[in-house]
Symmetry: C2
Subunit: 519 residues, 2 copies
Amino acid sequence: MYLTQPLHRAVINHPDRIAVRFGQRQATFAEFAERVARLAAALQALGVQTGDRVAILALNSDRYLEYMMAVPWAGAVLNPCNIRWSVAENRYALEDSGTQVLLVDDAFASAAQELRGHSSVLRELVYIGDGSTPQGMRHYETLLQQHAPVPDAVRRGSDLAGIFYTGGTTGFPKGVMLSHNNMVSSGMQARAEQLVTPGGSYLHVAPMFHLADIGVAQAHWLEGNTHVILPMFNPEQVLAAIERDRVTDTLLVPTMIQMLVDHPAMREPRDLGSLRQIIYGASPISEAVLERAFQVLPGVGFVQAYGMTELSPLATINSAYNHSPEGRALGKLRSAGRSCYCSEVRVVDGEDNEVPRGTVGEVVVRGPGVMLGYWNKPEATAQAVQGGWMHTGDGAYMDQDGYIFIVDRMKDMIISGGENVYSVEVENALAQHPEVAACAVIGIPSEQWGESVHAVVVPKPGHKPSADALIAHCKTLIAGYKCPRSIELRDALPLSGAGKVLKTKLREPHWAALERQVA
Amino acid sequence: MYLTQPLHRAVINHPDRIAVRFGQRQATFAEFAERVARLAAALQALGVQTGDRVAILALNSDRYLEYMMAVPWAGAVLNPCNIRWSVAENRYALEDSGTQVLLVDDAFASAAQELRGHSSVLRELVYIGDGSTPQGMRHYETLLQQHAPVPDAVRRGSDLAGIFYTGGTTGFPKGVMLSHNNMVSSGMQARAEQLVTPGGSYLHVAPMFHLADIGVAQAHWLEGNTHVILPMFNPEQVLAAIERDRVTDTLLVPTMIQMLVDHPAMREPRDLGSLRQIIYGASPISEAVLERAFQVLPGVGFVQAYGMTELSPLATINSAYNHSPEGRALGKLRSAGRSCYCSEVRVVDGEDNEVPRGTVGEVVVRGPGVMLGYWNKPEATAQAVQGGWMHTGDGAYMDQDGYIFIVDRMKDMIISGGENVYSVEVENALAQHPEVAACAVIGIPSEQWGESVHAVVVPKPGHKPSADALIAHCKTLIAGYKCPRSIELRDALPLSGAGKVLKTKLREPHWAALERQVA
């Protein structure tokens, strides 16, 4: 299997169908394939060799989609940068992967100059924006004009297709190496799970560097569907794009769904009837948001996908039926779903033995999506993948029907007085307090309990709830041993590039102190 | 990907669902998996090592299905024998593959004894029948009782999964080596193409040694569906099984569909309402048969699948819609369909250049189903697979929508006076003559024309049509240069094990004479 195969197939079967729409621009599959083959030629002319990494740092666009196909077409390796990362983080990723060529748009032109200034290997910047080309950069459209199409290099199977840097929440970024088989198999699983509407249009709203979008897009590539692209999430633009371009499918995170359904623009008269399906991930959706979504988007199916970059990314699916009013009676709405077609999912203890159903353990996954490994990190790879099983680090239990319910990141689980406390559960309780804007719960060292439950709370503006009041509130919702023993107020939580709370940073000072004592 | 993965997944997600029904016997997925793990243990105890071939020569049964899973579970390689082949042909396949262990049922017990008698390597026969165990054979159920389940060896990816002997029509049999990825990817394509009904039951009617059944069954494995098994095709038993076991999907060849819809038992009152889909292959279905099928099986979708053992087997699909009364207006009914999700299909000339749409050339296919190669035949492999493209040997043209229309086997195409004559077209004309029961058209040497069109005709009992009358009949239907120049009458045509006409045998005497002249 290979990433470019669906493009060849689309050119044979329906060359004149629209492949991509972005703002006022659009291209048929035949036109798109020609541009891809020209960009591949240009990359090769810039010195890109088989297996070389080519990066991009940009908001979503049609040119981003061309990059996604042209890099494998040229025989090279994808390395899309995280647009939420700092220059320092992306510099690390580019240096670590030895990337020499970077595509960049207007939003990141100055960041790219900075990256090149600090880099020992980055030598070519290609400007994919629409303004005047910044100094020292190549002009994208000129490159395409200058280079005649080259044949597809057809790298495939277990050949390296991309390096995807991840790991903001767990310390230093790691480059996840995915093969062509990894990525296409994930798309095939999504297709087999009916996550795409045949003959439809997929709206890219989530950032295109992320495997969530890449994975679902792959399924739409396989189907030969049209790609409609927005630079980033914006509720009004999403609604306008659905209406204008007859979008059938999209991928959002629950927060975006909530922002969309509660947006005033949603109440204006619109024809959103083309929309069939919203895939979401990252966390379960609240029943309240789902109810409101059903009201404003009747006929739309909601499907949860669970996975991670290391799984290319798909592991489990919670079906649209389980979200429907009838299906919800099955009680699976809070589940991340169950294993996809080609995947095995198990919940295991520290010795990799399967735990009884209903018992919390670590989620491990085996299947064609499991990464080749972490780039230049054989020990981290050996720790993560054992006997073909990817150890996700997620804590969950499985019910009798094979559905998994994620309770926490394993390392976010607090063991206090011998009892497991799931930080998510405590956070859910705290979040229901009217004066709490955000919160994070961690375990800190305790002589008496081993670990003790500690909460970091960001109050709503103008509020300053007392620790006693917050703890008393929690006691009305969860068992006493789960409630925080200590609480600190802060103005903000440290966030990763992907917007996840960096609990490592919150834990650090507490455990560093202990380490100093021990030393 | 690996063949046993869907079994593990089924055991996790729905251990109590019925995995298989055969006559009065049935087993849940949990029971089935335990039997598979016991059979794997027994095979290992019989000396089967990782990568060893294990054969089976039997009619369809639940034990056949256990064999299909237990062999990969034990880390070994499938080698199912063609039940239509002679002892000599199967002996060649077993010797060529160095197979030491053969499972055999009542229908082939004596053939198996003969095979062992003549073989230098075959040393163990396992009797899977229900009678008393023939001398010198192991008793299947006793083996299962004696051996505790072993863990799955989990051979996967590009590991060899099976050797499937093929090639009755093209000379000496060749062992097609398929990997786990080959076989599972074909199943995933079938699943993505909606060739299975979720939560349904698949009726094995076609012989289980054949990749047609194996490929569709693979998709049902991925879906976690129930397998209902008949020993062989029998119209009354098919109807009874559909009704009794609520069968949703099956695979038949057009002749079987015709026999089914025209059978008197079809007119008895029955509830066949569970049936959703019939996959067929080998040749297009006639519109007349399709019409009758729609009448007696309303609501059933007909889908054509085209492929070959070397493609694991799927290459193209002609959808149910194209068979429906509305869809037939598109004019695709005579097509073999267009490329499946992960496959590229092209029509090329002798230099592997794509020919214009509408022009006949050879069908070549690239994708995850392309075989590893022919067992111990590197030259034949290099000839068949070039640059990842499997050269099918089938002649076809492609229309503007990517649909291929098979006209002939390439080598069955006759070039007469510089004009291409497709034997199928001439045969279709001859077959419409009221006195013709069967016929085959070949090219024979001609000084004047290079090749000349020659027909071998089997008349209907009691008839003896003249060559002139037959040629005159053809002239009313097809162009003069396509009509036979010579005709011979015979009592029967030489057939391969799979029931295809052996044109090599018909051609031999004509060309051998020429070769003698040349020499």
